[in-house]
Amino acid sequence: MSTNIPEVGLSTTAERQAVTGRAGIAPGEDWVIVTRGIKRDYDMGGEVVHALRGVDLAVRRNEYVAIMGPSGSGKSTLMNVIGCLDTPNAGEYWLNGELVSTKKDDELARVRNREIGFVFQTFNLLPRATALHNVELPLVYAGVSSAERRQRAIDALERVQLADRMDHRPNELSGGQRQRVAIARALVNRPAILLADEPTGNLDSQTSEEIMRVFEELANTGQTVIMVTHESDIAAHARRVVVLRDGRIASDERRDAFVEKVGAGAI
């Protein structure tokens, strides 16, 4: 693992507490994600499950954050809320300076389209569409003209070194290539955050490293990356690790502190 990861730009605990503590006030523009007291309950056949019990999370622009936790910790729910696929029952969520926790369906669709680039564990590419067309999809919904769409999709595929495979369908690509197509799709509309959900969950360790290198480069070029994972060695690639337990943030620290703890068998 490389040791020269720039730690500059990482937010401090005090800064985060300051920004999450000011309820109802729009955070400064260097904060991409600010959640204040996010709660999310599910009604599971009469029994209420508290998936999130009050999450205060702040992510500054250009941070590379891993969200960890065992299953049932609420990390999937948090990722759905951050990804604007779900809305919280209580609390506020500011994304890129915009209060999105009160938005309705179609407005959330617009936010997902503009601000969020998803990378999923199962890639979630359209099986009958070519790599190029898959990457173009977010631009289709953004209303970009077809010529510009094509050019931007090719550019995005070039960033993940797959321009030569743009006419292939997903089943003609390896797992790592599929995930890189998915990353190109996530980046094509220049989102505020890249949101990855277990991005290496379906890949072997060598390919996982390859994908992690792509994330590393993106982070180095200024892309804000949020990665949800339950594997501590994958989480250790991020510069900051947030651990969730029972719907609350259990710890939120720099990577080196986290690695130390993992090494000590604390996780």
């Binding site: 759905n80 990804g83 696929l85 779900d86 369906d105 179609d106 669709a109 617009r110 997902r112 389209n113 503009r114 998803f118 999923f120 979630n124 590419l125 359209l126 009958r128 999809l137 977010p138 289709v140 919904y141 953004a142 077809s146 799709r185 509309n189």
Partner: protein, 414 residues
């Protein structure tokens, strides 16, 4: 997403699942096919009727002055029939009077007709033949062409010469393998000389138009088939439809005067033309066209139900795709329009296929039956509109279900 984009996506989807798409289309295709075919048959029947009446029985731009209508397809009440029987006969004198008031350029013919069984020395017995006694202009009025020999002349009519022009069926039967011209044909025992052979005409309403023969009105023929000075009718042919209206006015006025009708009394004669005979047909045609639209509409309803089902299955199968699209920023209306356009494209394609098959069926019927079917443009337009409409109606519910899917649940679907 633009409409063009949606249609392209829909076509790709249809091409990806050709067989399934075909079965989905089937209902709409069959509905449209029968719509096109039935309308073309009705149209063909109409053309056939008009052609038969106008061209073969009653003549183009021609009317026949008669006691009561001969070609009548409507129901005639008992009272009506009895009142017709009390009407005065049309006479030869009426015919001459009509001839006196119409312009010289107008063609005119007295006409009597009946069925007789002629005899020839070349064959024993034979079929009945429609036997007509008419003026020389009759050939021109009915558009009859004499291919061999000649028609009779004005002089022969005045002299009452026993000459006859026969149809091809008559020639074939009574003069087998012989040239009939100049030969003798006995009608009601009297010898007639065959002077002409009519061009083959085929049949109308199952009646052979070639089994007829025509003799001069003043020949002995009218004594057998007519009743003293009464005639079957007096035929008048105008040069064009406008002139025909004028002529009908003139002749009607004359006949009313001759029958001494007071202004408030209705006509006690008819001026029968193909148009008057076809009024009843128009009513029947209206009913047939309605049936021709309503029955295939049932097929379209079935087609709509099939499309709705297939679309529901498609939505279920493509739940994950919907989830992916939503996660990438597709709004409800994007998903809604995607599935609506897909359903509409599917059923419009079905309609297009149905139009093609309908054309084919119509052609096949025209080739295999005497009906001159013709596809009506309006039925094609109705088909396309119905096709798209059925698709949109059938796609609405599945598409709205797809658009309301929860993206998280949809992404988790297998």
């Amino acid at each position: 997403m633009s409409l063009f984009e949606s249609i392209r996506l829909a076509i790709a989807q249809i091409r990806a699942q050709k067989l399934k798409s075909f079965f989905t289309l089937l209902g709409v295709t069959l509905g449209v096919m029968f719509l096109i075919a039935v309308v073309s048959i009705v149209q063909g029947m109409g053309n056939y009727m008009e052609d038969a009446f106008a061209g073969k029985f009653l003549g183009v731009n021609t009317f026949t002055v008669r006691r009561f209508p001969d070609f009548n397809m409507g129901d005639v009440t008992e009272a009506e029939w009895r009142s017709w029987q009390r009407r005065p006969y049309i006479t030869v004198a009426d015919g001459d009077a009509i001839r006196a008031v119409i312009p010289d350029s107008t063609q005119w013919s007295l006409l009597d007709m009946d069925w007789t069984t002629p005899q020839s020395r070349y064959v024993n017995g034979g079929p009945q033949v429609l036997t007509e006694a008419a003026s020389p202009s009759f050939f021109a009025i009915k558009n009859l062409t004499v291919t061999e020999g000649r028609a009779f002349t004005e002089l022969e009519d005045q002299l009452g010469s026993p000459v006859v022009v026969i149809g091809t069926d008559v020639a074939d039967h009574y003069f087998p393998n012989l040239d009939p011209i100049g030969k003798e044909l006995r009608i009601e025992g009297l010898p007639f000389r065959v002077i002409g052979l009519l061009e083959k005409q085929g049949s109308a309403f199952g009646l052979s138009l070639d089994r007829q023969m025509i003799a001069p009105f003043h020949s002995p023929m009218s004594r057998f088939i007519g009743h003293h000075d009464r005639v079957y009718g007096v035929m008048v042919k105008a040069q064009n439809p406008a002139a025909m209206t004028d002529l009908q006015g003139t002749v009607s006025e004359l006949m009313r005067r001759r029958h001494k009708l007071r202004p408030e009394q209705p006509n006690d004669f008819v001026l029968e033309s193909s148009a008057s005979a076809l009024t009843q047909w128009e009513v029947i045609k209206g009913i047939l066209v309605k049936a021709g639209v309503v029955l295939p509409a049932i097929g379209l309803v079935v087609g709509a139900i099939v499309i709705m089902n297939i679309m529901l299955v498609a939505v279920a199968e493509r739940t994950r795709e919907i989830g992916i699209r939503k996660s990438l920023g597709a709004r409800r209306r994007d998903i809604l329009s995607q599935f609506l356009v897909e359903a509409a494209t599917l059923s419009t394609a079905g309609a297009a296929l149905g139009i093609g098959l309908g054309f084919g069926l119509s052609r096949a019927i025209a080739a295999l039956s005497p009906l001159p079917t013709s596809v009506a443009l309006w039925s094609v337009i109705v088909s396309v509109v119905l096709g798209a409409g059925v698709g949109i109606a059938a796609g609405l519910y599945p598409a709205s279900r797809a658009s309301r899917l929860d993206p998280i649940a949809a992404l988790r679907a297998e």
